[in-house]
């Protein structure tokens, strides 16, 4: 909460020293103590990235400092959002064509010269310093973190490792195994952690930045120093031992075959960890080589797909109060996420017990998301369990997350008539019913749409915004903006059985069950999918989603699609009848009583198994494109990746289809059709992709 008084007073509260207006991307000035301030304020954007231009101009400033040495040099950002988000990823494609190594060497040269400057160099970091931004900070003698600052190397998520000196500067600064862990996982170290690891030399409030800079310039801030462990790891043998362990841990989460970058980083460190010069040379070469890998190209594509979805979620939602109907796992987590992101939320249910559970779960989510004590308190204060439905009349958006029958939903909608606020939107979280059919019962059809979240809502970012034939554009736009406001990625799609994600996923799950009926062990089926690069095999996924929900979606797709689908496995029906619903009941196809199963097996895969699982998904994607359910191929890829974790290093199902050949796949489908039945008949849409 910020009122007008504080808003007025906090305007322009970033300490910028004596700097003047920007010349290019940097602003500079020397204060009365002779301290040179270099402030990054990249033109035309609210977020700093370290582009070639930024580096080139920095070189000029550094050269000036070399010839007229200041008392100290300070580097910081003028952007309220944070220090710098990393390298300019949009330039990577061009960079990889133009000889990345040369460009990298120029960058290394500038950072080396900052490091060599014969005066204290101080980096002040507020917000995030990521990737190349973090590397710039590492080239300085001191890092002063403004409370809330964070540091990280997310490069592995792009199929890369740090390339501007991070691979040797961070292990030289802090415990090398901690440094490697940060780089291998891409995880961010927040202020407190950054201080305890030794990344930050001091933590201050923004209002004390100038004083802290002066103290650092005068040598009054103690610099972090490494412990004994770093010395031990300067020996090859010790590093070899640790590297082996890192390799096996990394292989489990990111197999080398699919994700070469972390393995390349371990190699680098093992081979050159004791020789900075060699390491620098090798880092540049390795980074340039990784840029060209399919994995990195595809992961960069995924990053841009994500940006596109984020873009779709911008704008004003006009929603300050959300009322969620149904406090099951879905409704509860939707409510929690909205409350965490600042919405006023009422959560309705006919029973009070699930409301209590939802409050507890919301608290757990706050903890998992590292909210502070007062942030958690405020989020839980904003989330009001509402057994009497008082929120309905005040809500700008009502989200119905009730059981999946038209009858129950119709009754609920009837109860909303004349109670909802003027102009309010009603959205259904249905996954298996037709939005248009439900719209017939909605109080106002134009302000009715699907808002399809995925389980668990707190972890899966994609939301399908399903427009029915009557849904007006403003409603769909507001819903997409609402998704953005609560930290989700909206995909605007049309009403269709299974929408996009479940339409594509269902044949995959169904085929897994057919394979089981054929006698293929579930571990083998799951392994086939894992080896392809899915985060989870289809049998495990079915258990996780809930077998009752799988059955429901499968039945409804079989009824409504004009395409042949696999027979629903009788084993699935029996399991549902017996109450073995998967993860939520502790037993499905797998036993979940000891947590998530890990069905890896080294056994040989039966013939055709991978294509039988994967290709029907691609075929369904082509179908939803042909029928204009999805907007374009990028959207389909993004939806599948951010809803199901679909092998990201392959760039998404449609991208994979193109890589493999859009004429090859229907040919292969026909082959499978001949062997296994008409469910493999290729869609008519393949021809149009050419």
């Amino acid at each position: 909460m910020t009122g007008p008084v504080l808003s007025y007073l906090e305007d322009g509260m970033i300490e910028l020293g004596p700097v003047g207006e920007a010349e290019g991307n940097w602003r500079s000035g020397t204060d009365e103590d002779g301290i040179l301030w270099l402030v990054l304020d990249k033109t035309g954007t609210g977020t700093n990235t370290i582009s070639q231009g930024v580096i080139r101009e920095l070189e000029t400033h550094v050269a000036a400092a070399e010839s007229d040495l200041p008392k100290a040099l300070v580097i910081r950002s003028a952007k309220p959002k944070g220090f710098a988000a990393g390298a300019d990823i949009t330039s990577f494609d061009a960079m990889s064509d133009e000889g990345a190594a040369d460009l990298l060497r120029q960058g290394h040269d500038v950072l080396d010269r900052i490091e060599a400057l014969n005066c204290p160099t101080i980096c002040v970091v507020h917000g995030a310093a990521l990737g190349a931004g973090f590397e710039l900070a590492l080239a300085c003698d001191y890092r002063i973190a403004v409370d809330g600052a964070s540091f990280g190397f997310p490069e592995v998520q792009l199929g890369l490792h740090p390339g501007l000196g991070g691979t040797f500067r961070l292990p030289a600064l802090i415990d090398p195994t901690e440094a490697m862990t940060l780089m291998l996982t891409g995880k961010t170290a927040h202020t407190k952690k950054a201080k305890s690891l030794g990344i930050a030399d001091a933590v201050v409030r923004e209002r004390h930045v100038a004083a802290a800079v002066r103290a650092a310039a005068n040598g009054e801030i103690e610099r972090q120093s490494q412990g004994l462990k770093a010395q031990a790891l300067s020996f090859d043998q010790a590093r070899g031992l640790v590297a082996r362990k890192m390799r096996s841990e990394t292989e489990k989460k990111a197999p080398k075959e699919h994700y070469p970058a972390p393995h390349a980083l371990i190699d680098l460190w093992e081979e050159h960890g004791d020789d900075r010069k060699e390491m620098q040379r090798a880092e540049i070469e390795s980074f340039a080589a990784l840029l060209k890998t399919d994995t990195s190209e595809n992961l960069r594509r995924v990053f841009f797909l994500q940006q596109k979805l984020k873009e779709a979620g911008r704008g004003e939602d006009g929603i300050s109060h959300v009322h969620v109907i149904g406090a099951g796992a879905m409704g509860g987590e939707i409510a929690a996420m909205a409350a965490i992101k600042g919405k006023t939320v009422t959560l309705g249910d006919v029973e009070t017990e699930p409301l209590g559970k939802a409050v507890k779960q919301a608290g757990n989510i706050c903890e998992k998301k590292h909210l502070s004590r007062i942030e958690t308190r405020d989020a839980l204060d904003r989330l009001m369990p509402d057994p009497k439905g008082y929120g309905i009349a005040r809500a700008d958006l009502v989200i119905e997350a009730a059981p999946e029958t038209v009858e129950i939903k119709r009754k609920i909608y009837d109860g909303l008539k004349d109670r909802m606020k003027k102009g309010a939107i009603l959205a259904t979280n249905t996954s298996s019913l037709s939005v248009d059919e439900l719209a017939a019962h909605a109080p106002v059809k134009t302000r009715f749409a699907g808002l399809h979240f995925f389980n668990p809502v707190s972890q899966i970012d994609l939301v399908e915004v399903v427009g029915g034939t009557k849904t007006d554009k403003n409603t769909a736009d507001r819903l997409a903006a609402f998704c953005g406001a609560i930290g989700k990625l909206p995909a605007k799609v049309a009403d269709y059985p299974g929408f996009v994600v479940n339409r594509a996923l269902t044949p995959y799950l169904m085929e897994a069950m057919v394979l089981m009926d054929e006698g293929v062990p579930k571990e083998v089926i799951d392994s086939a999918a894992l080896r392809f690069g899915m985060p989870m095999g289809p049998v495990t996924l079915a258990d996780q989603v809930g077998l009752d929900i799988c059955l429901h979606v499968a039945e409804s797709l079989r009824e409504t699609l004009d395409k042949p689908m696999a027979e629903i496995s009788s084993d699935l029906r029996h399991k549902v009848d017996a109450g073995k619903l998967g993860k939520k009941s502790g037993q499905g196809f797998y036993d979940w009583s000891d947590g998530t199963p890990h069905p890896q097996t080294d056994r040989d895969l039966p013939e055709d198994i991978t294509d039988r699982l994967i290709l029907p998904m691609l075929d369904a994607c082509v179908e939803v494109l042909r029928k204009d359910v999805a907007q374009d191929e990028d959207q389909v890829d993004a939806a599948m990746i951010f809803a199901t974790g679909w092998a990201p290093f392959r760039g998404g199902p449609m991208h994979y289809a193109h890589a493999r050949g859009v004429d090859e796949i229907p040919r292969r489908l026909k082959e499978l059709q001949g062997k296994y039945g008409d469910r493999f008949a290729p869609d008519d849409g393949w021809g149009a992709l050419g």
Binding site: G3, T344, T352, K357, V359, K360, L380, D386, K388
Partner: protein, 431 residues
Amino acid sequence: MTDVKEQRVFLVDGARTPFLKAQGKPGPFTPVDLAVQAGRPLLARQTFDKAAFDLVILGCVNVIADEMNPARVAALRLGLPETTVAFSVQINCGSGMQSIDTAYRYIRSGSHQMILAGGAEALSHAPLTLRQSAVEWFGRLNNAKGPMAQAKMLTGIKPEFFKPVVGLERGLTDPITELSMGQTAEVLAHRFGIDRRTADAYAMESHHRLATAQEDGTLDNEVMPAFARDGTVYEHDDGVRPDSDMEGLAKPKPVFEPPYGKVTAGNSSQITDGASWCILASEQAVEEHGLTPIAEIKDSEWAGLDPAVMGLGPVLCSTPLAKRNGLGVEDVDLWELNEAFAAQVLACLAAWNDEGFCREVLGLDGAFGRIDRDRLNVDGGAISLGHPVGTSGNRIVLHLANAMKQRGAKRGIATECIGGGLGGAMLLEAV
């Protein structure tokens, strides 16, 4: 100051948490947590915006260190604008009524239009404090220079330093007379001849009435479920014993003055946590926002008397209130007289029916009269549902308004005794 015409004041709506019996350890909610639990649904069911309130007042006796000025903390946590002024009031057991009375007088004067007035108390959170002698000793230890001096100080340590003072126990002891509240009830029981059996019978009836009210939905609009962070849902006042009987009530020994006393844990109010809010609005605000009041607040009165007989507070303040408004005992359809102790409630009734007392002490011509039990605490009281001290006064005014509406009663008085020798009363009229 311009001359402002006095405004009529209405009680528009109100809600409270269930009252939760202290279980010998801090309960799931702090005073402000409770105020938030009660306030959220109350505000959610209004048609007007939260910004319509021009003041928040909250009564709270045992303010915890993390929540200084709990009214302000509660207002902000309830999402009221930062521009809304909020203050807390404390007059011991009358705090929750003091907030309503202050709001009533502010609105009546014309300076305010709509006020959120509440009470919040978490007696289970009442602090343990160090003895004064121990505090002084710790201070001297801190000032001792050098290890020798400190070692010497350590020899002065006394076992009693580590016996913490139970804040609650001290809070329920009158500082002037050093009588505990229970003892003041013993004084009244003795003076008005209330025997143990009569007190127990009164207590049993209190439980039965509350149980019925919980059962038949009487409290549905008044008591809002509270949701703890661990997922537990508290739906009802949990101190109620629907099967309370004379045999059971005869068992507990007198707690305050054993072995001959009459006041037991069974016929006293319970130590509980709870919060309650009322929305007060001027006639103008009622019209502007299209509100439907439950009752009109007509008048209020406070009185003081000897702390040793604080239990007669209701008699001392309600009598002039009735007299000023020309009301005899028959004119008041419903009474909420806070049940601090069964003996104390019965003593009030006895005093009103005592010609000598009424003439000599109250200045009436004769006895005020007998208050019918059917008009008194009709849905139970603090003996069955508990007495979170800063909240009870708010609850009885709110419940009086609701009970009047449910029964079609024309007039009612809510009144309470206040530790330290005070009494407060409010007169409500049907709209």
